[in-house]
Symmetry: C3
Subunit: 577 residues, 3 copies
C-alpha cells in the first residue's frame, strides 16, 4: 500500500489517533482494576506507562521471573533456552550472518521453510490486508486492533507519528520492533511474552492481571496462582521438580508451564493465529491427561458433542470477535474460550476470574465455599451458564459440581488419615529398612507428590503411590469431570469409581500391614525376643539385604557403567543412603 503525502498522512494519523483513543479506552475497560492498583498506575496511563510497569514486574526475579526460590538445586539443559529464554537463551555463536529484514525471510525460506511458510499465512506478514478491510466487513474490528497496536508503538516511540505498520517480520520479534538489521551472534533473541506485549499491550495486561485478581481469601494458594501468568514460577518452585536428577523428564513438565514466559503455547509460532486459539484443541495441548483432563471431559460432554457435531458451521476464521461468536458467529455451544475467557459478559486473556476449586479440591476450599469471595465467583458462573440455560438449571448443575466434588474429597481425606497413620506408626512397607530420603529440597512424607516422579528402594511405597494418585489424579478427574458435565467420566471411567478403588486398596493394605506386624510380633515373642527386638540393628541389616538390588552400590555401579545419568551426582547422592 502506497502511503499518502505528508499532509494527507497527518490528517489520517490524527483521525487514527482519535479513533485509537476511543478504541483504547473501550478496550482498556476489560483490564481489571486490580492490575492498575497493583502496578500503582492510573487507568488513564499511556500505553508506554502501562507497558513499562508491566514489563518491569514481568522481568523481576523477586516477583516470579527466572529460576525461582529453588534455583540452587537445578541446572538448565539444552532445551531450557527455549522454555525460559529470558534466563537461558544465548544467540548462536556459529551463525555469523548479519541480516537485513528481507534477508531474514529469504534465507530462512531455505533454512527453515516450514517456519517461513507459517509466517506467510499470518496476519503479521501482510497487515495491509487488515487495513484494507471495508468498514462493513465483520472483520473490521481487526482494523481497530491494528490502530491500537500502532498507537502503542507510537506511545513508546517505536513508530513515527506518520508511520504505519505494514508487516511484522522476523526482525521485529527476534531483534527489535522496527530494527533494520541484526547480528545472529549478538542481537538474536527469542520472544518472551513482554516482546509480544510491546505491540499487544492490551492482551499482555489482561494476562498479567491474573497475578492481581486471584487473591485467595484463606490463602488456599499463593497470590495470583494457579494461573497462566505465573505458571513457570509454579513449576520451578516445586521441590521435586527442582530436586529430581532426571532433568530431561523434569523439563517435560516445563514444556507446558511456559505460558508465563511465552505466548506461542496458544498462538503457535509463526502463524500466531487468534483463530487457532479459539478452538478447544488449542487448550488441549496442555489441558489433557491424568491430572487435568479438561479436554477429554469436554469432548465427551454434551458441550463437546455439540462442538464436534455442529461446530463445522461455526465461525472459526475469526470473522467476528469472541464476544459475538453466538450472536453473529453461528456458535450454538460452548468452547473452552467462550466460558473461561468470559467474566460478567466481557472477554479477555485473564482466565482465572471465575476460579473457585482451582487446580485441585482441598478442604481449605471446600470449607469456605460460602465465603463471599467464592460466592461472588459462583454468581459469575451463573451469569455465564444462563447465556444458554435457565437460572434454575444452571444453579442445579453448579450445585451438583460442588456437592459431588466434596463427596469425592471426603473419601480422599479419609484415606489420607489411614495413610498418615501407617506412616506415623512406621508400618509402610520397608519404611524402617529401605526408605531413602527423596532428593533435596524435597522431604520424606506419606503419600507425597514426589512419589509420582521419583522412586528409590521402598520410597514411595505402593500405599504412598495409591494415595498420591488418589488426590492428584482421581480426585482431580472427579472434579474436572463434574465441572465439565461429563457424567460417564466422573462416575465411572475416571473419578468416582477409581477413588473407591483406591480407598479399598488403601484399606486393604492397612489391614494387611497391621496383621503382618502383629504376626511378626507374636513370632518374635514365641522366639523369646522382647518387644522391640525385631527392630534392632542386626535385624535391620538382615532385612536390608532383602531389598538388596534396590540399594546404593548397585545403582551407582550401573549408572557409572552406562553413563546414563547426569554427572553432578553430589547433589543427590544422599537419596541413596
Amino acid at each position: 500500500m502506497v502511503r499518502g503525502s505528508w499532509s494527507k498522512g497527518l490528517v489520517l494519523t490524527c483521525a487514527v489517533l482519535g479513533l485509537a483513543l476511543v478504541a483504547g479506552n473501550a478496550a482498556r475497560a476489560d483490564i481489571p482494576k486490580e492490575l492498575y492498583e497493583a502496578l500503582g498506575i492510573d487507568r488513564s496511563a499511556s500505553p508506554k506507562e502501562l507497558y513499562d510497569a508491566l514489563r518491569k514486574r514481568y522481568r523481576d526475579p523477586a516477583q516470579g521471573a527466572g529460576k525461582g526460590a529453588l534455583a540452587e538445586y537445578w541446572e538448565p539443559i539444552a532445551m531450557s533456552s527455549y522454555l525460559d529464554p529470558l534466563s537461558f537463551y544465548k544467540p548462536p555463536a556459529s551463525v555469523k550472518d548479519i541480516a537485513t529484514r528481507s534477508e531474514c525471510v529469504s534465507c530462512h525460506a531455505d533454512e527453515t521453510p516450514g517456519a517461513v511458510a507459517a509466517w506467510k499465512k499470518s496476519s503479521h506478514s501482510n497487515l495491509n490486508a487488515i487495513r484494507n478491510l471495508s468498514d462493513g466487513d465483520p472483520r473490521a474490528y481487526k482494523k481497530k486492533k491494528l490502530e491500537q497496536v500502532e498507537k502503542n508503538l507510537r506511545s513508546m516511540g517505536k513508530l513515527g507519528p506518520k508511520e504505519r505498520l505494514t508487516e511484522v517480520n522476523c526482525m521485529d520479534c527476534h531483534v527489535g520492533v522496527g530494527a533494520e538489521k541484526g547480528d545472529h551472534r549478538k542481537d538474536l533473541r527469542l520472544p518472551t511474552a513482554d516482546v509480544c506485549g510491546t505491540c499487544h499491550v492490551q492482551e499482555f495486561a489482561e494476562r498479567e492481571s491474573e497475578r492481581d485478581t486471584l487473591t485467595w481469601p484463606q490463602d488456599q494458594w499463593p497470590k495470583g496462582r494457579p494461573s497462566h501468568a505465573l505458571d513457570y514460577r509454579a513449576n520451578v518452585e516445586t521441590a521435586i521438580w527442582a530436586g529430581m536428577e532426571e532433568r530431561e523428564i523434569a523439563e517435560g513438565c516445563t514444556a507446558c508451564h511456559i505460558n508465563q514466559n511465552k505466548c506461542d503455547t496458544c498462538h503457535t509460532r509463526h502463524q500466531f493465529s487468534a483463530a487457532e486459539s479459539r478452538r478447544p484443541e488449542a487448550c488441549a495441548n496442555c489441558h489433557n491427561g491424568v491430572d487435568h483432563n479438561e479436554f477429554e471431559n469436554y469432548m465427551m460432554s454434551k458441550h463437546g458433542a455439540v462442538y464436534q457435531l455442529l461446530g463445522g458451521d461455526w465461525d472459526w476464521d475469526v470473522h467476528v470477535q469472541l464476544k459475538d461468536a453466538v450472536s453473529k458467529g453461528g456458535q450454538t455451544g460452548p468452547t473452552c474460550a467462550l466460558c473461561h475467557m468470559e467474566y460478567k459478559g466481557r472477554f479477555g486473556h485473564n482466565v482465572v476470574r471465575k476460579v473457585r476449586w482451582a487446580f485441585n479440591p482441598t478442604p481449605a476450599i471446600a470449607d469456605n465455599l460460602e465465603h463471599k469471595w467464592f460466592r461472588k465467583r459462583q454468581e459469575a458462573w451463573v451469569t455465564t451458564c444462563t447465556k444458554c440455560h435457565s437460572e434454575s438449571f444452571s444453579r442445579a448443575m453448579l450445585s451438583q459440581v460442588d456437592k459431588g466434588t466434596k463427596q469425592g474429597l471426603w473419601y480422599e481425606q479419609e484415606a489420607a488419615k489411614v495413610v498418615q497413620k501407617l506412616y506415623d506408626d512406621g508400618l509402610m512397607v520397608g519404611q524402617k529398612t529401605n526408605r531413602p530420603a527423596p532428593p533435596a529440597p524435597e522431604k520424606d512424607a506419606a503419600g507425597a507428590f514426589y512419589g509420582l516422579f521419583w522412586a528409590r528402594g521402598n520410597n514411595p511405597s505402593h500405599v504412598d503411590r495409591i494415595h498420591v494418585e488418589m488426590w492428584e489424579h482421581d480426585l482431580i478427574k472427579l472434579y474436572k469431570g463434574l465441572a465439565h458435565f461429563n457424567p460417564g467420566n466422573y462416575t465411572y471411567s475416571n473419578g468416582w469409581a477409581p477413588l473407591m478403588g483406591a480407598y479399598a486398596e488403601i484399606q486393604d493394605a492397612n489391614t494387611q500391614l497391621r496383621e503382618m506386624a502383629d504376626l511378626k510380633q507374636q513370632v518374635a515373642e514365641l522366639s523369646g525376643q522382647k518387644r522391640g527386638d525385631l527392630l534392632d540393628l542386626d535385624s535391620l541389616q538382615k532385612k536390608a539385604s532383602f531389598g538388596g538390588l534396590g540399594g546404593g552400590m548397585v545403582l551407582v555401579g550401573s549408572m557409572a557403567l552406562w553413563g546414563w545419568r547426569r554427572r553432578n551426582r553430589s547433589n543427590s547422592a544422599s537419596d541413596e543412603q
Copy 2:
C-alpha cells in the same frame, strides 16, 4: 408462506392427506409388529389411537415410569427435575410472566440467547423452508415427514383440517402444541419423550418398540432391556444406585440413563438436528468409557478410520435419508447409525433388534448362542455386514467376535470361582473384622457391582474390586473391542491383556491370603491356642483396631464437621456398623 383460499386449501389438504396415508403406511411398516401386539391395537390404528396407547404405557409407573421399585430408598436432587421431568419438574415459582408465542422468543433472546440461537437454526423455527423444497430436491423426503406430522396432529385434533404448521416454537413443547399463551408458574413443562412423540409418533413408536422386540428366550435380561426405551428404569432400579448416599454422584449415572425420558440426548436441544445424531460423536456422548467404550473402539477401528479420513465428503446435512446414505449420500463406511439403526434393510429408532451379547457377556448368553432367537439375530447381522463385505468374510468376522468373547468370559468365570471361594472361606482381607454392609437395598457379596461406587472399611476388599472391574470393565471392553473390530484395543490396550492381569492378581491374592491364613494358624498353634481361637471375640476386637481409621466414629465425626454429606443419615447409618 401465505395460505391458499379455503377451496384451494381443501384440495391441497386432501392431496396432503392422501399422500400422508401412503407415506404413513410405508413408514409404519418400520414399526415392529411386536409393538402393536403388546399395545393390543391394530396396525391400521389411527395416529391418535397409536399415540394414546403409547403414551399411556409410557407414563405408567407399573410399566417403568418414574422412581421405580426402589423408590423408598432415594430422594431427588435439584438436577433430578431435568433428568426425570415427569416425576420431579415443577414450574419456576419465581417467574411471573404470562407470555405469548412471540414473547417467549423475544424475551429469551435476551434471557438465554444461546438457546434461542440454536432454535433459530432448527427446522422447527421455519417449517416452510421444508414445505417449499422442490419435489426434485433430494431433501424432499422431509416434506413427507412434515405432512406425516400434520396428519398426526390432525388425528389428535391439535391441528385443524386446513391448518398448516409453520413453526414449532417454545410454546408447543414447553406448554402445549398450538398453545397461544403460557404462565411460567403454572403451565411450563419440560418436554418428555411423549411430548416429542405428539408430532413424531412414528419415531416415538419405533423407540418404544424396544420394549417389545427384546424378549430374552432364557430370561438373560428383563423384557425390553437393556434398551434406550427403559434405560431410566434400569438406572433407578439398580440397588447401589438407589442406596448410595452421594446423590450428586449417583445422578451422574442418570445423566446418560434418560433416553427413556427425553429425546435430546441424541437430538440436542434446541436445534434438534437429525444431522447431528447421524454422526458417531452423538452416540459417543454416552457410549464411551470403561464399561461401554464403543466410541473409542469404533474410532480406532478401520470403520472409524474411514469415517475420519474420508467422511468429510459424506452427506452430513441429511440431504438424503439414512437408508440412502451409501447409495446417494456418498458414504463409503459405516457409522453407529448405519449398522445399529438397521434391521433387515430397514431403518428406525429401535436399536436393539440385533442385540445378542447385549451389555455384557454372561454364561447365560454364551451357552445359548445356538438357540434360534440368537441365530436369527446373527443372520440379521450377516445381512448388515454383507452390504459391504462378502458373506464368508462377514461370517468369519462375526465368528471371531463370538469365540473371542467366550474366551475372555472363560477367564472371568474362573476368577469368579476363586473370588467366591475366598469369600465363602472368610479369607477376604478384613472380612471378619472390618467389612461393613453396603447401604440397603444392596447386600454384601463377593466381587459385587456396588464395589465400584461405594466403599467403607474393608468392603469391598481389593480382590472384590479386581473382580468387579474384571467383569464390568475388562470383559466388556474385550467384547466391545471384538464387536467393533478394533483388534489392538481388545487384545492389548483394553480387554484381553487387562483380563489376564486381573486373573493373575486374583490368583496371587488367593495364594497369599491362604498362605497367610496357614501361617497364622501355625503361629496360633505354637502359642498353644486351639484351632479357632484366632477368631474369638477378643481377637476380633484387637484386630478391629487395626482398621481403626476406617471405622464408624471418625467417619461420622468428620462428616458432621464438614457438613459435606447428606443430612438424612438414618437410612444408611447401618453401613458403618
Copy 3:
C-alpha cells in the same frame, strides 16, 4: 476415451515411454541401493526384472512368507484367510458364477453395494480422469504415475505397446491384470502386496526395501525388523502368539500385523486413496494403544494441535505430492507421513530409514547411540526437523528424547534385576506350588512377554505382570511420548509417572515377599523343622490346595461343559500340571 489410430498411438506410445524412462529413473532414485544389492540386480533393471526379483523374495517362506518358523504350533481360523491370503485363502466353493469384467461390477453393486460405491470413488474406476488432467494442473504428477504403471505392465507383457489402462476393476486385482473373465470357484484371489505391486512396482520396491536398509549393527533386532515389510513374520514367529490356545484373540494381533501381506491397511479397499493415507488417522488404526501410542502422543502434541487446528486448510485431496505439501500444499505442521516417510529430503514407502530406538528401548540400543550407524540416522532426523526448526532447537529436542528415554530405561532395568532375583530365589507368589508352564513353544521366565496374553494359576504372578507392563507399556509410552514431543503424556499420564509406580510396586513386593519368607522360616524353625522342610513334598501338596480352583481338573471340567475352548487340547494340556 477413444484411443488414437495405430500410427498415432505409436507416436504417443514412444513419447510416453520416453517420459516414463525419465520419470522411472527419477522415481527409482528413491529406492535405496541396499534393495538392489540384496536382490542382486542392477538399478537399470527393467520393471519386470525388478518386480520378478521382488515377488520371488516376497513369496519365499525361507525369507519370511507364510506361517513361519513356529508353524507347527498353530492353526488358522476362518479370518486367517483374509489376513494371510497367500497361505490360507481358498476361493468360495458356493459361488458358481463365471463373470466378465462388467458382470463383476454390476452383480456386486447388488451383492456388496458399499464395496462398489467405494471403488467408484477411486482413481482405479476412471483412469482417464487422470490422463485428461491438463499439464498445468498441480495434479499432473498423477499422469506420470499412470504412465509409469503402464510402462511396468508393458515391461511384464501385461499391456500391449499401444494399449492404455482406462480402469482397474475387480477383475484386475481379484483374478489377474487385464483378465476378461473369472470363475469364482477357481480364479478368485485376495490381492496380496505383490498383486498391488504388479502395477505399483515403485511403491512395492520402496516398501520391500525396509528388509534391506534396517540392518542393526549390534544385532539389536533381526535384519529388516521391526518394519512393515516383515510385520506378519514378526507376529507369527512370536512364541506366545503361536502357542496360545485362544486363536481368535491371537488373530487380533494379526489384524494389524498384515502390512507385509496387504496394502489396504493404509489404503483402505476399495477406494485405495493416497489422500486417505496422508492423514494421521490412517496410521492411528494400528499405531495407538498401550504399546505404541504414537497417535495419542501426536494428537496431543503441539504438532498434532497444529494439524487439528489449522489442518483444515491443508491439501488433503492430494493435489500435490507429499514432497510439496509444505511448499505448495499449504501445510504448516507435520503429519506422520511428512516426517516418517522422508529420508534426507526424499519421500517413499520405506518408513524405517531413520529408526533408532525402534519399537522399544533396550540397553543394546541405549549403549550404542554413539555408533556411526545410530549417529547417521540421528543426523537424518536433524535434517527433517530443520525443515521448520533451527538446528540448535532440533538438536536440543532430539537430545532430550534420548536422555529422557535412557532415564526411564534405567528404572526399568533396575526393576528387572529385582524381579529376576525374586524368580531365581523361588520367591514369586506360588512359584513353587502353582506355576504351570506357559504353552509351548513359550518357556517360563520372569516378567516375560507371554504374561500379557496368557495366565494360569500363579503364572504370571502379579510381579511378573507389573514388570512386563513396565517394559512393554510404560517404558514404550515414555519413549514414544518423548519422541513425539508430548510432555504431559510422557511425564505424567503415561510414561514416567507409571514407571515410578511400577518400580515402587515391585520394590514393595520384593520387601514383602522376602519378609514373608523370613517369617515362614522363623515359624518353621520354631516348629522344630529343619531348614528346607518347608518345601518338602507334603507341604507342597498342602499348599497346592490353596490355589485349588485355579488347578487342572476344574479348568478342564468347565471347558468341557461349555465347549468354549478349542478342541485340540493335547498341545497345551501340560500348562495345567
